[in-house]
């Protein structure tokens, strides 16, 4: 039996859930299809960074749009998502790195973006008292922060459902096809049909795009994270390094999340990842050197979520270059969580209004068209 809806959203990550929610706010009745459960993969298990800091320029407008939503997240989803805003700080470990920071901030200012602010050693020490004395400064984005990713993704899912979205979890979207002007998708023994299809399937989105004739150079990756036992409170902002792979966040309960992008081996078909402890040891060494207070903390758990990374580290976001009614929203390349709320809002505008005020032109799938590569 086929059910007609207004839109089919494939993928129950933060992006699919946010788009479904915003479509509901625009008066549409979407169906959200998730093969596992909402937030099962990268959206539920990422570092939870809510970061405008250090983003690629083409996605900054989307990030700023998203930040406005994050700051009122409770009003949107009736859940605070454990969002807190103590800023994010990029630490330069030497003068060369600080020079690069200075150039970056100047570049952004020239483009009209003011969210990144160069800081000297004194301000760095004020924000991050535990930073090593040798660090000469860095960059801060003061409105940034962090949230609980699984709580956030499920809050979006829950709110979308309350507003009228149909949420199908535990069965994959299959047999995606276009006929008689509608997109058709099978889910188990049910079928849905709609004029709009949103491909927000994360690590699984590349194969959907390819099957619809729009292949994208995208790979499946699994960035690793680890969390420590509780240590006395010593740091508020999220800290990332300019020169080394490290991100660092202490939660209210004292536990510390250590990330930075070292990769596990994904086994996508099994929903599994195998951790690379030798790379995690590198992260541990960096923390050991920079934050002596952490040395006796114990590592409680390490994990990795499966997601998609594009060749140019930018998302594929916007209408299909080939099919009417098809929209892509994937390939966020390890930094999609903060973008989720804003991307859903913009996607709903694209679908409902046919356009948006938020500048997203450089994120389209057409950049990977054979003629432009």
């Amino acid at each position: 039996m086929t059910t007609n809806v207004d839109a089919i959203v494939v993928g129950g990550g933060i992006h699919g859930c946010s788009t479904a929610l915003h479509l509901c706010l625009a008066g549409m009745k979407p169906v959200l299809i998730e093969k596992d459960y909402a937030g099962r993969h990268a959206s539920g298990v990422n570092a939870g960074g809510v970061r405008q800091l250090a983003r690629h320029v083409p996605e900054i407008p989307l990030s700023i749009r998203s930040m406005e939503i994050w700051e009122k997240i409770s009003e949107l989803v009736d859940d605070d998502c454990s969002f807190e805003s103590y800023g994010q700080v990029l630490v330069a470990e030497n003068e060369d790195e600080l020079a690069a920071c200075r150039a970056r901030v100047a570049e952004l200012n020239a483009l009209g973006f003011v969210h990144e602010e160069l800081i000297d050693a004194t301000e760095l020490r004020r924000l991050v008292p535990a930073a090593a004395d040798t660090c000469p400064g860095g960059v801060v984005s003061r409105r940034d922060g962090a949230a609980n990713p699984a709580q956030t993704t499920t809050a979006f899912r829950r709110k979308a459902e309350q507003l009228g979205a149909t949420v199908c979890e535990g069965a994959a979207a299959t047999n995606i096809r276009h006929s008689d002007g509608l997109w058709h998708v099978d889910v188990g023994d049910r079928s849905y049909a709609a004029p709009v299809l949103v491909n927000a399937a994360g690590a699984w989105a590349g194969s959907i795009a390819a099957a619809l004739g729009e292949p994208v150079p995208v790979e499946t990756v699994a960035p690793m994270l680890m969390i420590t036992s509780r240590v006395p409170h010593f740091i508020d902002p999220v800290v990332i390094l300019r020169g080394r792979k490290l991100s660092f966040k202490q939660f209210k309960n004292g536990t510390v999340l250590i990330g930075g992008g070292h990769l596990a081996t994904p086994y996508q078909d099994r929903n599994e990842t195998v951790l690379d402890w030798k790379s995690l040891a590198t992260s541990a060494r960096t923390v050991f050197e920079l934050f002596p207070v952490m040395r006796d903390a114990t590592i409680m758990r390490a994990w990795a979520g499966i997601e998609a990374k594009t060749m140019d580290d930018l998302p594929v976001f916007g209408p299909s270059a080939r099919h009417k009614g098809l929209y892509h929203q994937f390939g966020f390349s390890l930094h999609g969580f903060q973008l989720g709320p804003g991307a859903g809002a913009v996607m709903a505008e694209l679908i409902v209004n046919g356009g948006t005020q938020t500048r997203i032109g450089d994120l389209g799938i057409d950049r990977f068209h054979p003629s432009t590569l």
Binding site: R158, S229, S247, K278, A281, A297, I299, L334
Partner: protein, 472 residues
């Protein structure tokens, strides 16, 4: 002094030196396979033969003849070429058969062609009101003190629960001069009828005569209250009294020490973290790995032996260890395997060792009210999450234990779900009208036992250190 593994690669790595691990390592070494046995404790023996090589208890009958069987297993292993490392904590095992092990504060990585996981059992959680009070402990913890240090309780002591180990512990405490004021037996009356059809096999099993004698010995000295249907510990920051209902009558007794026990369940953490498929066992009410008849799991190269493969007791564990090791030898060194006892004989031994198990499982199946708590009773001790908190999370959309982690942090503390996992699964299954199998379990990840950041930082460097900076 502690020693790191001598090599980086082994034919067979056995994890755990309880009955299954001791037997598996000896068999593997006997077949000429390079064999490494890693064990977390100070000495071999696991829980059932804990401190077998060092116990200060010399009177053999105090710990019982079954305990001393462990000495023969240790002797056989020590006579072999197996490399044995004690105080070696395996904190990671993955599907590539890479093992991370911490010895003496330093971690090493070894690779195996076959891994035999023999991590045994742990006690089933017993989440009654007040179970987290100081003065309440598990019977297993009491037994550890008894075997390692000959320590027995001398205050007002109550033992509550059910199962063969409860009676064994009671007998051991009494023989060593310890004090037990009362035993509160929580075995459901209906279980006796349910178990009856299985009784014949049990009557012909080795458990029967020994079990009966032990119960008689304990009953002669201690008041045993049968049919306990409610149980609670209370006190102000310290256990002061235990209240219970039996036969519809409520009673409270002043108590200094309450020992709880309602059976043991497979210790699944390492195998689950390695990706081994587990299924809910409806009779034993726990997760058990999916295994073939040689103990091979869903992950190629990983076999599981002993109680970690499903509770079977020490005798069955020894045989399962031999079977898993023989299967490894057949795969890696077929000629040498031919010299080992034939598989058919081992399977015969296993049938004998497992006889009567279904009867015990049925008789000692713990009652629902002692497995699935309600209200303010703590479920997750590490994060202090009560039963009602979990139901609240279900109400706002948590569908399984992994979503619960996001809502309440249940299972995310130092015990990594060992003390709450089964309770959470059953509680959520009940609340959502699903089976435990449908609800599932925490996705477990390494480190299976915590290691310090400093120790991880000291791990030798890899080539992957220099890579483009990517951030999440």
């Amino acid at each position: 002094m502690t020693f790191a593994p001598k090599r980086e690669d082994y034919d067979v790595v056995v994890i755990g030196a309880g009955p299954a691990g001791l037997a598996a390592a000896a068999t593997s070494a006997e077949a000429g396979l390079s064999t490494l046995l890693l064990d977390e404790n100070i000495g071999p023996g696991g829980q059932v033969y804990r401190a077998i090589a060092s116990t200060p208890v010399i009177e053999r009958n105090q710990l019982g003849a079954d305990y001393w069987v462990g000495a023969d297993l240790v002797q056989a292993l020590r006579a072999s070429n197996a490399e044995i490392i004690q105080r070696a904590t395996v904190w990671s095992l993955d599907r590539n058969l890479e093992i991370a092990v911490s010895v003496g504060g330093a971690s090493a990585f070894v690779k195996a062609r076959r891994v035999i996981v023999a991590t045994g059992a742990l006690e089933r959680p017993f989440p009654i009101p007040g179970w987290t009070l100081p003065g309440v402990m598990t019977a297993g913890a009491a037994q550890t003190m008894l075997k390692s240090s000959a320590l027995v309780p001398d205050g007002r002591t109550v033992i509550a629960g059910q199962g063969p180990l409860l009676w064994l512990l009671a007998a051991q405490i009494l023989r060593l001069g310890g004090r037990i004021n009362r035993i509160l037996d929580t075995t459901e009356r209906g279980n006796y009828f349910a178990a009856l059809p299985r009784a014949f096999a049990f009557l012909t099993s080795p458990y029967f005569a020994k079990g009966l004698a032990m119960m008689r010995e304990v009953r002669a000295k201690v008041q045993v209250v049968p049919g306990v249907t409610e149980l609670a510990a209370s006190g102000d920051g310290q256990l002061a009294s235990v209240s219970y209902v039996a036969g519809g009558k409520r009673e409270a007794i002043p108590t200094d020490l309450l020992l709880l026990h309602q059976g043991v369940v497979p210790n699944v953490n390492l195998a689950m973290a390695a990706g081994v498929e587990h299924r809910w066992d409806d009779l034993q009410l726990c997760w058990s790995p999916v295994l073939d008849q040689n103990g091979n799991s869903s992950v190629a190269g990983i076999a599981i032996a002993g109680d970690g493969a499903g509770i079977g007791g020490a005798g069955a564990a020894v045989v399962r260890g031999r079977i898993a090791a023989r299967a490894a030898a057949e795969a890696l060194a077929p000629a040498a395997a031919a010299k080992l006892p034939p598989m058919a004989a081992l399977r015969g031994d296993l049938v004998k060792a497992e006889r009567g198990r279904i009867f015990l499982d049925t008789l000692f199946r713990p009652a629902r009210q002692f497995r699935i708590p309600s209200g303010d009773t703590i479920v997750c001790r590490c994060e202090e999450i009560a039963a009602k908190d979990i139901l609240d999370a279900v109400a706002i959309g948590a569908t399984g234990p992994n979503q619960l982690k996001a809502y309440r942090r249940a299972g995310m503390g130092p015990c990594q779900g060992r003390l709450c996992g089964l309770t959470v699964t059953e509680l959520m299954a009940q609340a959502r009208g699903k089976t435990p199998q449908e609800i599932g379990y925490y996705r477990l990840r390494a480190p299976v036992k915590p290691i310090t950041l400093a120790e991880l930082a000291a791990v030798p460097k890899s080539e992957a250190d220099v890579k483009a900076v990517v951030r999440g």
